[in-house]
Symmetry: C2
Subunit: 426 residues, 2 copies
């Protein structure tokens, strides 16, 4: 029986999960892969703290990542450090040395993926990143392999567990800050939650999914991004009453020679398979010409789920080493499809407007919508208090630019007090 | 640019879907695979009927399957004939000639998979069968690859589109025969629906999934099987009222050194992700120690979805040919785990009993359950008519053998008129 040696960079939550699974299921993995996968070293700045994975790996710990990268006995490098620096230089060094690399790093792949894949191809090495999107959910491999004969037209992802947990808790009546505080105390949200709640995390993941689905380079910065911080528990309540769930979606669509890519909260009809994805669970929903609608569902984060995706990639990299066919799984970006400007996004909209409870108000607002050719689906008055009325408007699909102009005009109507919420609808 | 030649056996619904996708997306596939996939011949007994796939392939049609299998220019044989004979002999001949084989044939893989995989391994050829379970849903590859570092403990599948469609229609108030008639006229059910409605189709698929998840041979005939023909629209209505959906499930679990595998209708709680799988859609839900709960959802049948799975496998087989690493993806059955006898299945139960509306009846039935240590969760009286009352019982989990004995005793109670339904609950 052969041995494939693995070096792990980063021994945080994700790295520890990967190490634990590789050790827990070593015997099964050996049988499935046809070789023993041996962890030869684990590099982390903290070589002291016990990660409580049920194994004493203290003898494997080193503070020197390069000692693993430069070890000629190590065949596969796993990168779970996160962020671009210093992860990028380590990944480049490992690929440069001809080693296969498995990474969970969405920011790195979203930002530097094209260059890293080119380097992997040049060196005949594998660069695998299933763990970078959707945690333990197989989503990248199915796109690359099982859907290889499909033209994928649309991606709808719930790819951030923190925000989905927050929205699920707010559904129970908590307001945003209470939900966030609780999530932080449970470890579901970072002390600085910006990357999650402002949609950056989802944006990186959508860039990766879009590249895979549409075979074109998609720059994360070209993706329209809006977080969940302005969503209130009222909006969730009203949406639920109308038969919708509010989710932070990462959506991309290929149509008319452009890619429409955006991260924003949205009302999702209860009948849509993605509406039932609750709490910290994630899902990637794809529409394609062959398979039709498919969805991949599971835990989007967490030590063992992310560890599972990494360890699965390590098994694949090891198989490719044993079979002598590394470096062939790279994503082919043979298209050059531009990302459409955010102003051209076409969506239905949910808009909550506080107005003075006086005659002529609805007419004035409807008139403003009409001037920008935004047609209306329903108008529901929710509450009246202290001379103010809360009115929820659902519009038909309209271009972002027209919608913005209409809203800016509505804000100026004297009878309009404020527009606290505007959420897109799918 | 290289060319990989493909021969298609069987030009029915599934074969036509595969051909259409390979032609529709030929340019994308070429870029993704790194070679042109050329259909060199299509064998079918019917070489005349126009399959209306949008291409004139009449020049490729032949009545002679062996002419494709024996063509030294053909690298990959696709088998979409179905059934064991003559499909098995064609697949054996193709593998024997060292060709990679892609098949959609669940019966063949369930019954003869072990031998065929051994032959593929011996010949260094690929035998791929993603289309045999779940139509267009990637489920087999994720198990083999992405979950390779997991110990999978449980499978819950809705893997038959026909029965799921029937149950969804019955939810709207149709009875079983009306729903079946309609499904037959729409082409969702065969004129002889036995294989679907009696659970044989699900049984074969569960045998395949169990082998993959537990790395052990599972004989389809060892799987307990019960169809949906005795489900009534009343049961569906009552189940819905209690917060459940009725689905035909293919379930397998590894516990205590045995595999518990069964196909039967079941009440699924509304909160379970699989409860929302409606109509002809299918899903495979897995619980494992690393990724946790994951679910794979999509169209379980149909020309293009099944064609998508086949064409995806053809792309994989072609990549392996180009990379010179065929024959390494076989399923390792290194375990030898016995399938537990049906009598030992442990399930909760929904039981609908018609009783005479007289004192002492509930006591007599409860007493019978108690004698076999079947404890009760709820008892709800639904309807009383003509001196008869309909009572729905939910039991806690109990062994099949005890449940059967209790029910057989209850049937003999003079106040009991009949037991029209007994459905398991998950």
């Amino acid at each position: 029986m052969k041995t494939v040696n693995v070096g792990i960079l980063g021994f945080g939550t994700v790295g520890a999960g990967a190490v634990k699974l590789l050790l827990d299921n070593a015997e099964d993995i050996k049988q499935r892969v046809g070789a023993e996968l041996r962890i030869k070293g684990i590099a982390d700045l903290d070589t002291v703290t016990d990660r409580k994975i049920g194994y004493d790996v203290s003898g494997l710990l080193t503070g020197d990542a390069l000692s693993l990268i430069n070890d000629p006995d190590i065949h596969i490098i796993v990168e779970t450090i996160g962020g671009v620096k210093p992860a990028e230089s380590f990944v480049r060094a490992a690929l440069g040395a001809g080693k296969s690399v498995v990474t969970a790093n969405k920011m790195l792949i979203a930002k530097e993926g094209a260059g890293l894949m080119a380097l992997a191809r040049e060196k005949g090495a594998d660069l695998l990143f299933e763990a970078s999107v959707g945690g333990g959910i197989p989503s990248i491999d199915p796109i690359k392999n099982n859907l290889a004969a499909n033209r994928i037209n649309k991606i709808i992802g719930i790819v951030n567990g923190t925000t989905n947990y927050l929205l699920s808790e707010m559904k129970k009546g908590k307001n945003y800050s209470a939900a966030l505080k609780e999530a932080q105390s449970l470890g579901y949200a970072e002390q600085d939650p910006t990357s999650d709640v402002e949609g950056f995390d989802s944006m990186y993941k959508l860039a990766i999914l879009s590249r895979l689905c549409f075979n074109t380079e998609v720059c994360a910065d070209d993706i329209y991004r809006e977080g969940i911080t302005s969503i209130t528990d009222y909006d969730i309540k009203y949406a639920n009453e109308m038969g919708y769930q509010i989710r932070l979606l990462a959506m991309a669509e290929r149509t008319g020679g452009q890619i429409y890519a955006a991260v924003h909260p949205a009302l999702v009809p209860d009948e849509h398979p993605i509406a039932g994805v609750d709490g910290v669970m994630n899902a990637v929903f794809l529409s394609s010409d062959g398979a039709g609608d498919t969805m991949y569902y599971g835990a989007g984060a967490g030590s063992l789920p992310a560890g599972s995706a990494i360890a699965g990639d390590v098994a694949e990299a090891a198989r490719n080493i044993l079979r002598g066919c590394r470096g062939a799984g790279a994503v082919a970006c043979y298209n050059d499809i531009p990302v459409a400007p955010a102003e051209s996004l076409v969506r239905r909209n949910y808009i909550r407007i506080i107005v003075r409870d006086e005659a002529g108000c609805i007419a004035a607002i409807s008139g403003a919508f009409a001037r920008y050719a935004v047609s209306l689906e329903s108008i529901i008055q929710k509450n009246t208090k202290d001379g103010l009325a809360e009115v929820v408007w659902l519009t038909h699909a309209a271009e972002e630019e027209r919608m913005r102009k209409a809203l800016s005009e509505i804000e100026k109507i004297p009878l309009v007090d404020s527009i606290p919420s505007r959420i897109r609808v799918i």
